[in-house]
């Protein structure tokens, strides 16, 4: 263990409580929601200048909302399962009247005229929104360095990145700014930063959580997911935001089993497949590989049948993803043209205005991906790149189907390394893209996956183990994740 001064990852008081403890005490009248939010705001004031997790802290709105929740409790009403729980939102979830920027200059100052469905659902569960978190611009990146507001830093080591693209949300939960946060995961953007910041991160089944009001990056892959400091809190957060939404045409018809329905059952008799191609992949650091072996052994000791399984096509996931996601992004981001919202730069005619606006408003990574996607979709290259990538997607789905005939869940590392130094990977985009190699296959298949902290690397920083499940296999996935969490706590003692 490293000996160090108190840092942003050392939690105490209400900021060290779980979301469920806070909600239970607020509902029981033992803790005031206002007191809870004040403690979190004080912690933000102390550490936010070092971490930069937020693009916007909504202190006044949060206090007002917390006071309203306390009034409900005093009046004998129940504010809901997340009563008084502070929640941080990735800055691509629309909040009516409050700036939503995607960490991009092109949306600077824009105030959405409506709330995302997940924001409404959090409100009706009694949660208190504390602010909007920093991210890689339009969710394109794996380090939160591609942000127009500057990078977020990892609370465990301020010289390192928090991962990305939902790095601000991951850092906010790790630093005790909020016990829960929401992010979005298109190729690993919840799970990878969760792994690097030592918290739990979930990518739900495609269609389980409404995307109405989630600003689109790659529509066949995007999914909203929660961050928490425990598996049970993450399940509670997912239950609060999931379910059918008629405003999202990709929303799956319900009802769905609660994500928490199988917690506490252990893993005795369950079959767990360790994905050979990801566990031993080139580029997986030896300390991460060792931590994953520990996770596999822990599940085995708890009674699971753990074996290695080959899922051969996942090795093509990275290439397929970096054709499909930029192609969809190039189309989705065509809407930022200076006409209806956000930045407009002057031009003699409309085309000049478009070009001036987009060139000034988008950062380098967004430009790269928009050009890559435009190229992959362009005449003469469509079949070779985009068409091929969509076929690879079919292969990956088939290989997973095959694996789930023998296994209940699959296991892999979440990220190839622990948190890396700021600036270490910004010069070469491909090196940065490699961070997503273990997380991408679940997005391509539309399946759920969760990252749970398990052990530390040689540098003492957190490592994440990823549990993958078939579509709508969340209850089983959380059941296994909880056992890993308990084993990790046992080892740390």
């Amino acid at each position: 263990m490293r000996v160090r001064e108190e840092g942003p990852a050392d939690l105490s008081g209400a900021t060290g409580l779980s979301a469920q403890e806070i909600a239970a005490r607020v509902r029981g009248g033992e803790l005031s929601a206002l007191g809870v939010i004040e403690e979190h705001l004080a912690r933000i004031e102390r550490w936010e200048p070092s971490v930069h997790a937020f693009n916007l802290v909504m202190a006044d709105e949060a206090r007002e909302r917390a006071a309203a929740i306390d009034a409900l409790v005093e009046g004998g009403a129940d504010p809901g399962p997340l009563a008084g729980v502070p929640v941080a939102l990735k800055d691509l979830l629309c909040t009516r009247g409050a700036p939503t920027t995607c960490s991009s200059r092109i949306l600077e100052g824009w105030r959405p005229p409506y709330d995302a469905t997940v924001v409404k659902r959090l409100a009706s569960a009694g949660a208190v929104i504390v602010g909007k978190t920093n991210m890689d611009e339009f969710a394109m990146g794996s380090s939160t360095e591609h942000s127009a507001t500057g990078p977020t830093r990892n609370p465990h080591d301020l010289g390192r990145v928090p991962g990305g693209s939902s790095g601000g949300s991951a850092a906010a939960v790790a630093a005790g700014f909020a016990p829960l946060a929401l992010g979005s995961d298109t190729g690993g953007s919840v799970r990878q930063p969760a792994a690097l910041c030592g918290v739990v991160g979930v990518k739900p089944t495609y269609g389980l959580v409404s995307r109405y009001g989630l600003i689109a990056f790659a529509s066949s892959l995007d999914q909203v997911g929660p961050f928490a400091r425990s598996v049970a809190d993450a399940a509670a957060a997912l239950d609060a935001i999931s379910g059918h939404d008629p405003a999202d045409s990709t929303s799956l018809p319900g009802p769905h089993e609660s994500a928490a329905s199988r917690l506490g059952r252990g893993v005795d008799g369950l079959r767990v497949g360790v994905i050979a191609e990801l566990a031993g992949a080139e580029g997986i650091a030896p300390d991460v590989a060792r931590a994953l072996e520990g996770a596999a052994e822990a599940l085995s000791s708890a009674g699971a049948k753990v074996e290695e399984i080959s899922v051969p096509s996942v090795t093509y996931g990275l290439s397929a993803y970096y054709m499909i996601a930029p192609a969809e992004a190039s189309s989705n981001l065509a809407r930022y043209d200076g006409v209806r919202y956000g930045l407009r730069m002057p031009g003699q005619d409309v085309t000049e205005m478009y070009m001036a606006t987009r060139s000034a408003g988008f950062g380098p990574e967004v430009k790269r991906r928009v050009m890559l996607g435009t190229y992959a979709l362009s005449a003469g290259y469509y079949e070779a790149f985009y068409g091929k990538a969509q076929k690879v997607r079919t292969l990956i789905i088939r290989d997973f189907e095959q694996a789930y005939r023998t296994f209940d869940v699959l296991l892999s590392p979440t990220a190839p390394t622990t948190a890396f130094a700021l600036g270490a990977k910004t010069a070469d985009p491909l090196t940065m893209y490699m961070n997503d190699v273990c997380t991408i296959p679940s997005n391509l298949a539309g399946h759920p996956a969760i990252s749970v902290p398990f052990g530390t690397g040689d540098d003492g920083l957190p490592v994440g183990a990823q549990v993958l499940a078939p579509a709508l296999g969340e209850p089983l996935m959380f059941q296994v994740a909880e056992v890993l969490e308990q084993a990790a706590k046992g080892q740390a003692k």
Partner: protein, 103 residues
């Protein structure tokens, strides 16, 4: 089996930038050409796959023709939406002229 395309050229990058309504400086063009070439070179692994018979997947689940009951419901308020626009005139979005000739 599909042939592997040549590495992307500066001219092609300039072309896709124009299609995407981005203007690039000479330095940016140079930088992005190299970076896009290296990402596309990585994709050569899927280029080389012989999977002509495999059907493509555009969307993870086969949901199609998702319709709701045709019931009237309120939509966004026009004034609230227009308040966020860079330029507005007579209840509409105002933009610079579309054709480059002077009016």
């Amino acid at each position: 089996m599909a042939s592997v395309p040549e590495p992307i050229s500066k001219e092609q990058v300039a072309h896709v930038a124009r299609l995407a309504r981005l203007s690039l400086t000479e330095e940016e063009l140079e930088l992005y050409t190299g970076q896009l070439a290296s990402v596309l070179a990585h994709a050569a692994d899927i280029e080389a796959l012989d999977i002509a018979d495999v059907p493509p997947t555009a969307h993870p689940f086969p949901l199609s023709n998702v319709l709701r009951e045709d019931e009237p419901a309120p939509c966004l308020q026009r004034d609230e939406v227009l308040a966020e626009a860079p330029e507005v005139e007579s209840g509409r979005f105002r933009i610079p002229r579309i054709l480059s000739e002077a009016p």
